[in-house]
């Protein structure tokens, strides 16, 4: 009898022999025929990862990516049939690979790939009319808390991860070595990672935590450009509700 435990055991481990009880039409051992399933499993998971991690593929090349993907899928096979979520732990896994230690920023760039896909599949929402915000008196505005779109994701990197992502996929300028906050916003159906100006990441993080606008502004610092941040949030439909 060939139970699914034995059939399963060799699928992700090529050193495990072909399970007994699997045969061809002449009752000979299945041999290579079992290898078709082995190959299908690995290739389908690898290709699903490649689709979900375009920046990583671009930065290290498809051949290197395939090696990383093969190691990852054996280390962490999917635990759900929703392949749209597969690879959420790939950034942490990458941090553990000796072969990629010379690219210490890579995990944060891969976190952008993860967040882009998460944003793509997030629930739809509608941004507030900018006039709603403009109509508030200052006293009210400072006491207001913001609700954000489910598709909005803030990432804070000690590396220029956003610029590297743009360099990899959008022909962006060669990144310079400074920390970056990245805000992924989805006005319609296509998420986009924006590199935030100084202080904006602190303010967005504070607003996300639910503190009033006035309190959040205090975390911005001297170089913080409020108009630029509000313009970005409003134009990308990121603010979905205000609570006074």
């Amino acid at each position: 009898m060939t139970d699914q435990t034995s059939f399963h055991s060799g699928l992700l481990n090529p050193t495990v022999p072909v399970p007994d009880g699997l045969i061809d039409a002449r009752h000979r051992p299945a041999g290579r025929r079992y290898g078709v399933y082995r190959n299908n499993v690995t290739v389908s998971l690898r290709d699903a990862l490649a689709e979900g991690f375009p920046a990583l593929v671009s930065l290290i090349g498809r051949e290197n990516f395939d090696h990383v993907a093969r190691a990852y899928l054996r280390h962490a096979p999917p635990t759900s049939p929703l392949m749209m979520h597969y690879g959420a732990t790939l950034p942490d896994f990458i941090s553990t690979l000796d072969q990629l230690k010379h690219l210490p920023y890579l995990a944060d760039v891969v976190r952008i790939d993860v967040a882009m896909r998460q944003s793509y599949h997030a629930a739809d929402s509608t941004g507030i009319d900018p006039s709603t915000l403009q109509a508030l008196e200052e006293e009210h505005l400072l006491a207001t808390t913001f609700h954000f779109a489910p598709s909005m994701i803030l990432l804070r990197s000690t590396w220029p991860a956003g610029s590297i992502w743009h360099y990899a996929l959008r022909d962006g300028a060669k990144p310079t070595g400074q920390a970056e906050d990245i805000l992924i916003l989805r006005a319609d159906y296509d998420p986009e990672p924006y590199v935030l100006g100084a202080g904006s990441g602190d303010v967005v993080q504070a607003l996300q935590s639910g503190v009033p606008f006035g309190t959040a502004l205090e975390s911005g610092g001297d170089a913080f450009d409020l108009a630029a941040l509000l313009n970005l949030l409003l134009s990308q439909q990121a603010i979905t509700d205000l609570n006074h």
């Binding site: 699914q4 699928l11 009880g21 290579r32 299908n40 929703l82 392949m83 749209m84 599949h121 997030a122």
Partner: protein, 285 residues
């Protein structure tokens, strides 16, 4: 999520195609001869975004078949109740013209393997599959179609032929069948039996949909042909001939062209659908 329209209670006896997002505009602008679409359920289980928005638009124009690829109906373990609930949510929202899944397993010990893996055909596996189908049909509140797999090997312990196994599943559960004639051709070649003989023994009365797709060619350890179900190229002539053989006995059916890898531009896929339309015309003449 607002309800999608559900003006299409059944799949029509017309060609359909497996929907790919890159064909969205082409399908809306110039669908002929495509009369319905099939989507992989798992691609529409996000919370929102473009996939669901496109599906909402398509469902207003076309009957939709929801085709699951991750339920692991042939699995030794229990069905994943979270996944079944997601399928129910999708089907309740979309009210598709058809729901189908595979005679295969894909999950073991909570690992999802993203492939359709084979099972032996025995009285034990028959009971298990029938119980799982009962559960699916009860939870979804609808009849499902079960698809025959592509096989690359056989199990020494099997005591049923695949056709007898499927016929008994239909008898026990009342489910319908999705007959993939490319899978029949692939399995028959790989396991050295007659694909026409398979069709002749198959419970055609239960067929609610027919699949067509392309396959790759390889060899086993002994140099024997080993066909691999790839959905990455045109349907080959012997499979079209097997379709004719099938339709001559079954009468017209909803015919789906699957092309999932190396997806071509719309005109190429539409040509394959035209070829399916010709097969339907032949059976009616």
């Amino acid at each position: 999520m607002p309800d999608a329209t559900h003006a299409f209670p059944h799949l029509p006896n017309l060609p359909g195609v497996g929907y790919k997002p890159q064909h969205f505009s082409d399908i809306l602008d110039n669908p002929a001869p495509v009369g319905w679409l099939e989507v992989h359920a798992e691609n529409y289980m996000g919370d929102g975004g473009r996939p669901l928005a496109q599906l909402r638009v398509l469902a207003e124009r076309f009957p939709i078949s929801v085709h699951g690829v991750g339920l692991s109906i042939g699995g030794e373990g229990r069905l994943d109740s979270d996944h079944l609930a997601r399928l129910k949510h999708l089907c309740d929202w979309l009210n598709p013209a058809s729901f189908s899944e595979h005679l295969a397993w894909s999950t073991h010990d909570s690992h999802f393997l993203n492939d359709l893996l084979p099972l032996p055909y025995t009285s034990d596996t028959l009971t298990r599959v029938a119980d799982h189908i009962d559960e699916v049909q009860t939870v979804l509140g609808r009849r499902m179609l079960l698809e025959n797999p592509s096989s690359y090997l056989a199990f020494a312990e099997s005591t049923y032929s695949e056709t007898d196994f499927l016929a008994e599943i239909v008898r026990r559960t009342g489910c319908g069948l999705l007959l993939d004639v490319n899978n029949v051709f692939v399995s028959a070649t790989n396991l050295d039996y007659s694909p026409q003989g398979y069709i002749d023994a198959y419970p055609l009365d239960a067929v609610g949909e027919v699949h067509l797709g392309g396959h790759d060619e390889d060899e086993d350890d002994h140099g024997a042909p080993l066909l691999i179900d790839s959905h990455g190229c045109e349907v080959v002539d012997p499979v079209w001939a097997l379709l004719d053989h099938t339709l001559a006995q079954s009468g017209p059916k909803p015919l789906l062209v699957e092309w999932d890898t190396d997806v071509p531009d719309w005109p190429v896929l539409a040509d394959e659908a035209r070829r399916a339309a010709s097969a339907l015309t032949r059976v009616l003449s």
